[in-house]
Amino acid sequence: MDIAKLANLAKLKVDKKEESYFERQFDETFKIIDQFKDLDTSKVASTYIVTGTKNVMRKDEIDSSRVLSQEEALCNAKKQHNGYFVVDAILNGT
């Protein structure tokens, strides 16, 4: 298992020592998970929601009880500029 690749996909920093530690633990974990291969599920449908709820729709209207003011939305942001969140650049400037 390529731990460095997984860490990169998940945007996590993992050092070399941790890499081998996690790798060992993942091997142990998959030994336990792999027990479920004993069960034949070739004719069994997967369950993604246990209560059988179907798509729930609502009117396309603003529900003011779940809207934050701009000031509230920004109140926990470490970096802000002119009432906006500041994010890292994702494009190279040309």
């Binding site: 945007k11 792999d34 027990q35 479920f36 069960l39 599920t41 997967s46 209560t51 509230e72 109140c75």
Partner: protein
């Protein structure tokens, strides 16, 4: 000695009845950390539906209780704010992830506390701390404003010193919420009124294969002693077998890690909280494993397979619950282990919660009620019923709890 049950105690004393709330429920204006330093300075701008409903019904939040960070664990030892100690013996774990809530109730700080369960996180600490723990049906209680762990499993619930207290609070927090589309519009019965203690002719199935071969003999004996009590109360008790719970460990591990990797992707330190460098070891391990089980080529092998076995568990319970009103068995394989038991154990929680996982992945309601002591530490009996039968499990728990008073 302090138990370290609370991460934050509310400085503003409210009016009404104090209640402790697990620190993964958002509380407007009151710090909410999920026991992770990543959210050390996070002050929510709104409250969870559960909290709002409690405040509208005469309760005030006394404090925010400790948990395994992000609910990742079954010990409350994997908290960035230090472990919660077991009130019965402070060298032992409180259980988790709702360990702070269980300890707050067991030590008498509050009569009732709010917890949440993905698989075992209410029932486990309730059993280990000697209190009542109710994990409702998935979708019975709103997840709005609860810091997400495994979204197809997360079930907010109640820990209480007695069954009546749990019934009272569950009635307040249960029900449809327009802010959580997975909540059910099934009517919420008056759970307190359902506590008659009458279980005459009730059909109870004792899950034989939940008494694992490696289990402490005293735990087996104390749990089986409850059968006699139920028989005296007029219930019809027989032994039954379920699908082997060992398969639930894999299902739960895959589904939960997958959902964790997706849910914890939002913590980027931009809108709130600190950056991803603040995730501790357990969160990193879970996020990466979930990233793997959801990745191309492995999603079918693991995620889809796990969800198919989930169907097998649902079908198995459905069949059994056609012939039985409730199923009972031990909540946990043993009493609380000593502090430090989780060290280096990547699967401590999943193994400890083996008996809680089948009902959880099937979305069934279950209650853990104290049923004695082993080596000076409490153990619990769990009672499982069909979806939306919280009234039934609460009444059976109540019948057991009050049987000694007759």
């Amino acid at each position: 000695m302090e138990l370290n049950a609370f991460i934050t105690v509310n400085k503003k004393k409210g009016k009404g009845i104090p209640i402790a709330v697990k620190d993964n429920f958002l509380t407007r204006g009151l710090r909410t950390t999920a026991a992770s330093k990543l959210l050390d300075d996070y002050i929510p701008q709104y409250s969870a539906t559960v909290v709002r409903r409690l405040e509208e019904n005469g309760y005030w939040v006394y404090g925010k209780t400790n948990l395994d960070a992000w609910c990742h664990g079954s010990s409350t030892e994997i908290s960035d704010y230090g472990p919660t100690l077991n009130p019965w013996n402070q060298k032992h774990l409180a259980g988790g992830s709702s360990g702070g809530s269980a300890a707050a109730v067991a030590s008498g700080v509050v009569d009732v506390a709010i917890g949440s369960e993905t698989a075992g996180s209410i029932r486990g600490p309730a059993a280990w701390c000697g209190v009542v723990g109710v994990k409702p049906t998935y979708g019975r209680v709103s997840r709005y404003g609860v810091i997400a762990m495994g979204s197809s499993l997360d079930s907010p619930g109640v820990l209480s010193k007695d069954v009546a207290g749990a019934a009272r609070v569950l009635k307040i927090i249960a029900g449809k919420d327009s802010k959580d589309a997975t909540t059910s519009d099934n009517e919420v019965p008056d759970y307190e009124l359902s506590l008659t203690g009458d279980i005459k002719d009730l059909k109870i199935g004792v899950i034989e294969n939940y008494f694992l071969s490696e289990m402490d003999k005293e735990v087996v004996k104390k749990t089986l002693d409850t059968v006699e009590v139920f028989q005296k109360l007029g219930a019809k008790v027989s032994n039954i077998k379920t699908l082997d719970p060992k398969y639930a460990i894999g299902v739960y591990t895959v589904v939960q890690r997958s959902e964790v990797s997706s849910n914890l992707a939002r913590y980027d330190g931009i809108r709130y909280g600190k950056d991803r460098g603040f995730f501790a070891e357990e969160a990193k391990r879970r996020i990466m494993l979930g990233t793997y089980t959801l990745s191309t080529g492995y999603a079918d092998k693991y995620y889809k397979k796990a969800q198919a076995i989930r169907t097998l568990f649902i079908n198995d319970f459905e069949k059994l619950l056609k012939s039985f009103d409730v199923l009972i068995g031990p909540t946990m394989p043993g009493p609380a282990p000593k502090l430090g038991a989780t060290k280096g154990q990547a699967m401590f929680g999943e193994m400890a919660d083996i008996l809680a996982e089948p009902a959880a992945i099937s979305g069934l309601p279950a209650v853990s009620v104290p049923c004695g002591f082993v080596g000076g530490l409490p153990i619990g009996l769990q009672i499982i019923a069909p979806q939306f039968s919280e009234d039934k499990i609460l009444n059976v728990a109540y019948a057991y709890e009050t049987s000694n008073r007759a």
